[in-house]
Amino acid sequence: MLEALNLDCARGRRRLFEGLSFELAAGQMLWVLGPNGSGKTTLLRLLCGLLQPESGQVRWKGEDVRDSRESLHVDLLYLGHAPAVKDDLSGRENLCFGLAQSGIGITPHEADAVLGEFGLAGRETVPARALSQGQKRRVALSRLALGAAKTLWILDEPFTALDAQAIRLVLGHLTQQLGRGGCVVFTSHHEVELEGHAVTRLQLAQ
């Protein structure tokens, strides 16, 4: 479903990668590995179309992403380095508005149920500024629980600042996503294993 063909990318004068190609079929997961500064985030942003490669192309369902941005974005759930969580909004509002701009409408009730699952029961209406780093991260990740309609998940360091229990929860959602025939691309410094699903590794060199 997701194909990268001969991607070249340079940031400033530094060449991050050259001739990078891979293909990801439905139900597959790609783990992008590499030391800090090796271009993991850049690659993810390239895949979502936020950046343009110097040469090569990214294809989603056989179409070049540059030509059909909308058809990629309909299927895309992206979780970036910055969590897109507003300090002045509560967890519930963050989740509702966050999903609304990705084109998913949910009721406050659905939002509360998901936040409860992510260990934020009773804190749904607390402004995010009063939450800890890990809890804010949980608010951001709770989008995954409602992202079933999105076929492609691109996650930048989803496990940062999470405790073991939350990591298990996220892995559970990743397994479900793959089970539904979705694709996942993510970066992580944590060892990731999913039962019954192969994880393809992509190592970026420094």
Binding site: R45, L51, L89, G103, A149
Partner: protein, 227 residues
Amino acid sequence: MTPLGAAPVFAAIVRRDLTLALRRRSDVLTTFFFFVIVVSLFPLGVTTQSSVLRSIAPGVVWVAALLASMLALVRLFAPDFDDGTLEQLALSPQPLVVLMIAKVLAHWLVSGLPLVLVAPLLGLQFDLPVQALGILALTLLVGTPCLSLIGAIGAALTLGIRGAGGLLALLVLPLYIPVLIFGASAVSAAVGGMSVSGHLSVLGACLLIALVLGPWASAAAVRIAME
């Protein structure tokens, strides 16, 4: 879970930005009181002669509105840029141009509309005749959305730049000149008892042009800022 079309997404963004403005009232009030105070300084500082005041009023109010709207522009995209929300907007399945209009609309409602509403009151300090007060509010009602739309382009272009505020002023203020000229001269004409329909038509044309080109240019600038 239901898929949303462009209209609900548009409404959600406006609602979110209004909620945020309500939670951070101080930001909104700063713009508003800046406008009120700058306009009020002129009768105190320049003269108490009502003929002079009447002739400087249109320019003073309009320049103050320009500066106040500049002051508010810094907050249009920068917070969203910093916390990753803008990235999410750029990746939305809905056209970014439409979402830009939503951002600008919410921004105008909290930073432009209050100026329109308070302007007639401030006009009284300049001894403006009643029908000129009405025209003043009307020109601001047509002109301030223009300022927000044009300003959004500058705000998007200066994302991620150090000292963005100063550069933003240099970029945007020259583009405000047509709005300033026709806005202020309409009020002057009203003070002089002349017809204002010509000025208002040009101001309306400015708004239409800004409405067509502004969101499109800001969307392009936001995409550039993402790189």
